[in-house]
């Protein structure tokens, strides 16, 4: 029995190592002096960071990414919440189709969505703009916001909203004083997670971005050239950002679950 448990731990550790190796390696290499890292490692340096973040186009990309992720998270969370609430409260014909529309986008390969977006956005004159990237990212991120808000609403006693009406609150007031406060942790969580989705997305963004590159698109374009450890430095910052967002999102969900 003990041997089997030990074997289990070893296997699990190996799998986790494989999954997290690229993340860890990227962080390690970003502080490593070698241009082509190998074993044994070179010496510690912050040189790659200094070089990467002294480039104005990096800062421009960071600015673009922040704008896109910020706007995307707000819009996607609003649509996701509205959809989750509709699903929670109303029954109507074609609801299955409505929900399919809400949840399908992430199952479509990004390359295909990128192509379709590029074609359509050029048609309506939004290709190559930040607005275009935001539009595409909202499509991709809304399902995540919807799922998180729906999960939270399913933990709510359905009588709660009716109780507010019963105590003199109209629908809008009940939304403000009951539904929104109840869903607050899920909404914060959805904001974080949709921001992370947008911050990491590079396929669709690459198709439609034109000259307005986001951070991952810039990485992609650097990658098409030579091996450059600056990517590790930028990548580490990107990892840290999205991981903090995802962990913050998870923290919000689980902290609240504990006390009801």
């Amino acid at each position: 029995m003990k041997a089997r448990a030990a074997l289990g731990w070893v296997y699990l550790a190996a799998l986790f190592t494989f999954v997290f190796a690229p993340i860890g390696a990227s962080v390690v290499f970003s502080f490593n002096s070698d241009r082509f890292p190998t074993l044994p490692l070179g010496h510690f340096t912050t040189d790659w960071y200094a070089r990467a973040f002294s480039r104005p186009e990096v800062w421009e990309a960071i600015g673009n990414s922040l704008i896109v992720a910020g706007v995307t998270s707000v819009v996607a969370t609003f649509i996701g919440f509205a959809t989750a609430y509709t699903d929670f409260r109303y029954g109507f014909r074609f609801k299955q189709a409505y929900l399919a529309l809400a949840l399908l986008p992430p199952t479509l390969p990004l390359v295909i969505l990128g192509l379709a977006m590029l074609a359509w956005l050029s048609q309506i004159g939004l290709s190559g703009t930040l607005t275009g990237i935001i539009i595409a990212h909202v499509v991709l991120a809304t399902p995540f916001a919807m799922a998180i808000c729906r999960l939270r609403l399913s933990q709510m006693d359905p009588a709660l909203e009716a109780a507010a009406w019963n105590l003199g609150a109209g629908q809008w007031t009940a939304m403000r004083h009951v539904i929104l406060p109840f869903c607050a942790p899920a909404i914060v969580s959805a904001l974080c997670l949709t921001a992370a989705v947008s911050f990491d997305e590079f396929v669709v963004a690459w198709f439609v971005s034109g000259l307005n590159r986001t951070v991952p698109v810039m990485i992609l374009e650097i990658l098409q050239g030579n091996v450059d450890p600056q990517i590790n430095a930028i990548g580490t910052v990107v990892f840290l950002t999205s991981m903090s967002l995802v962990i913050a999102a998870q923290f919000m969900i689980f902290r609240r679950r504990r006390h009801g």
């Binding site: 448990a5 289990g8 731990w9 296997y11 799998l15 986790f16 494989f18 999954v19 690229p22 993340i23 390696a25 990227s26 290499f29 890292p37 190998t38 649509i79 509205a82 609430y85 509709t86 409260r89 109303y90 409505y98 529309l101 809400a102 986008p105 199952t107 479509l108 390969p109 390359v111 295909i112 192509l115 379709a116 977006m117 590029l118 074609a119 359509w120 048609q123 539009i135 595409a136 909202v138 499509v139 809304t142 919807m146 009406w165 629908q171 809008w172 997670l193 990491d200 590079f202 396929v203 991952p216 990658l223 091996v227 590790n232 930028i234 990548g235 990107v238 990892f239 999205s242 995802v246």
Partner: protein, 282 residues
Amino acid sequence: MSTSRKLDPYAILWRIPLLVWQGLFFVVPLVFMAAMSFWLVKNYRMEPAFVFDNWAKMLGRGAFWDAYWLTLGRAALAGLLATVIAFPASLFLSFGLGESGRRFALLCLIVPFFTSFLVRAYAWQVILAESGPVNAALGVAGLGPFTMLNSGFGAMVGYLTLVLPLVVIFQTWSLAAIDRSLIEAAGNLGAAPLRVLVSVIIPAAKTGLVLGAVFAFIMTFGDFVSPFYLGGSKPPTLTILIIDTTKSGQQWPRAAVVALAMIATLFAVATAALKAAYGRRG
């Protein structure tokens, strides 16, 4: 639950945003892309038309079918490998760990899903390079150096990095949900552990196993980072074909043909798999 049958402005406000946004920016682009596949391209300009030229050009080309079968084969292989590799880990997570340990492990596995796959692929490029750390370590043992990049192997490493976390999550969810008494009962009846696994655990966890494999298939089928940066992009997969066709000149209609062929394939595979996952057992 609604107070009246009629649609009030309140109800409309919450229902409309999704319809508008996903309608205008998800459904319409896809429909537009489908329509575009019948357009004409003359002098690097697209013209609305209804001709089958693009379909004939793409589907009549050997290179397209090479890419198609390559992509399909790789996706199937990745689905299979991921399922097999993930299974022992999921088994351990489900039966060897407590509730809180399992939950923590799954939370960790969600994290990579939201972290840049591009940077992770680049890290693999460095790790697996001819003079990289892996070959250096193997060299100490007197092995290698091996060429791991720009090959099917390199692409597969990328695919597995992408899909393994999700496959483990799906499998663990369905394994952990199995009624323990079922397993104990089988054990009490004298079934050997391997037999319990094959005739009790795997059938009971079928849904999660199939869903995990299908998602691995779908993600691999649509991924371009692994074949491009780790697989050496030659021979091309369907995704690389789309990118090359799109980015070189105005051949969007032909790229649309490839995209539609991919959608049709994914739809068929997903439908068949869902039937297998939720259909009658045994």
